[in-house]
């Protein structure tokens, strides 16, 4: 679909969404009225800026004032068939959402864009390394695989070893997991003496963490599995994915623009940023009518580039490098900005490193310090000294000469993750106190 048609479609869907929201959600209607916005006076995408942004804090407070969902539902609870929660990456309490039958079908439909776009077909056997709980995670992907006609292997409530065995035993051709867990399964396979590179798995579909678009992490996953890996990203607030990587793997993820409007703004001023510049993504969703989402501030950092940068022929714009981190991920260490994603990109260049953790602490009660704790695979223990030295140097060079300690820890001593990995531990205190914990960077 040509860009001008996509935009015309978005404007029409936006007007419909505004009309539905005004009519069914008084809480939103009040906000829209206060901003002078109505379905009648929004006629182009340039009118978007007049619609008030919605923050997670506002959503959370609305929920606290009127539990459990807040005054945000556009339909009675009786119309719902699904309940899910955010995973709580940021914020104090999880957000709670509902979906109807139609919404749930739509959620799967969005995942179909990603699966089909990456080459998944009815003949595929899809394994889900996912725990099937209240976190929405790969639920929609599971139903998308069924919808496509694949054979679905629901790998919930299994040990990593059992999952690896089932993937091999059932000759799965597609594996879905977080990037971290894809590496965890590869480690497990190695310790079992299994040759994953020559297994039946041809594709990995990754979600849940930004690492799926970090080139070094992705390269490592692809080489460990001998398969191609595609990044996707979604959020519980809209119930599904809004971006996916196609088979051409353009180094980024296409935005599903016939179902969402994505804007990129300066996180401080809220002003739009041009193509190629990093900013925070805002999302407006046309799919789930149960809880309308208009200009929601995601806190995700992205760089948008035109669709033409991919050779697949889709006219959906691209987030180059996928989701690059979160606005609140950045840590300030002795005046230098440190992004966990940037650290991961360097650490993952070392295939010998099985797991790592970024640790921030206060030395002698007066100075911020940062160290990276690494587990080196036992088979490469003899190279530990060289790896630690090189890594220390590479990390420092990438951070304006900041001194970053690198320490080896025992194999298997760092935590492993199935869902969103939490590799940053911030133990810094307020300088001058005896131990008052710092709450911000």
């Amino acid at each position: 679909m040509p860009r001008e048609q996509i935009e015309a479609l978005q404007v029409r869907k936006l007007k419909n969404l505004l009309a539905w929201t005004q009519e069914s959600v008084p809480w939103h209607a009040k906000r829209l009225k206060a901003a002078g916005v109505s379905a009648d006076n929004v006629n182009s995408l340039s009118d978007l800026g007049r619609i008030p942004m919605l923050t997670r804090d506002e959503w959370m407070e609305a929920q606290l004032e009127q539990p459990p969902y807040g005054p945000l539902l556009a339909a009675p609870q009786e119309a719902a068939i699904r309940y899910h929660l955010t995973s709580g990456t940021t914020g104090r309490i999880p957000l709670q959402v509902l979906d109807s039958m139609k919404d749930w079908e739509w959620i799967a439909e969005m995942w179909c864009y990603g699966f089909w776009g990456f080459g998944v077909r009815p003949s595929d056997i899809v394994f889900f390394a996912f725990s099937y709980g209240t976190f929405v995670g790969f639920w929609g992907a599971h139903y998308a695989s069924e919808k496509i006609g694949c054979l679905v292997l629901p790998g919930g409530n299994m040990t990593t070893e059992a999952r690896v065995k089932q993937i091999l035993g059932m000759k799965a051709t597609v594996v879905c997991s977080t990037p971290t867990y894809a590496l965890r399964m590869a480690q497990e396979a190695r310790s079992m003496g299994v040759d994953l590179e020559n297994s039946s798995v041809k594709r990995l579909i990754l979600s849940g963490e930004p690492a799926g678009s970090i080139p070094a992490t992705k390269r490592l996953i692809e080489s460990e599995w001998g398969a191609r890996a595609a990044d996707t990203a979604g959020m519980t607030e809209v119930g599904t994915i809004m971006i996916f990587e196609c088979e051409k793997q353009p180094g980024g993820t296409h935005i599903i623009e016939d179902h969402f409007i994505e804007e990129v703004v300066n996180p401080e001023s809220g002003e739009p940023v041009p193509y190629g510049e990093q900013g925070e993504r805002l999302i407006t969703s046309f799919g789930r009518g149960f809880i309308p989402v208009l200009r929601y501030r995601t806190r995700d950092l992205v760089v948008r580039v035109p669709a033409g940068t991919c050779s697949c022929g889709r006219t959906f714009d691209i987030y180059e490098g996928g989701i690059r981190g979160r606005v609140d991920d950045m840590k300030l260490v002795r005046g230098t900005n440190v992004y966990p994603r940037a650290v991961e990109a360097i650490v993952r260049e070392y295939k010998e490193i099985d797991e790592f953790r970024i640790h921030l602490y206060t030395a002698d009660g007066r100075q911020d310090e940062i160290e990276v704790l690494v587990e080196i695979a036992p088979a490469h223990d003899s190279q530990a000294e060289r790896i630690l030295h090189e890594l220390r140097k590479a990390l420092s060079q990438a951070h304006e000469g900041l001194r970053i300690g690198v320490k080896q820890v025992d194999a298997g001593s760092l935590p492993r993750f199935e869902l969103k990995a939490k590799r940053l531990q911030d133990d810094r205190i307020v300088i001058g106190t005896t131990g008052e914990r710092r709450t911000t960077a």
Partner: protein
């Protein structure tokens, strides 16, 4: 039958959109459906909504019928 962007739908697409509209009509008006008939019709209408939506036919919201 044309969609909202003025594109003419194929015969098969038109039939599917008609199917969606018919189901919505039945679910709104009929009180004589057995539970198994209603729940399977609801499942079908939820799936057909995706077609009508994908064809840019502005299918609207259908929470009032339970989908």
């Amino acid at each position: 039958m044309k969609n909202t962007t003025g594109v003419e739908l194929t015969e098969s697409e038109q039939a599917l959109v008609e199917c969606y509209r018919t189901l919505v009509r039945i679910l709104k008006k009929s009180n004589d459906l057995a539970p198994f008939e209603r729940r399977n019709a609801l499942k079908a209408v939820a799936a057909l909504w995706q077609i009508a939506n994908g064809l840019d036919m502005d299918p609207g919201q259908i929470y009032d019928i339970g989908a």
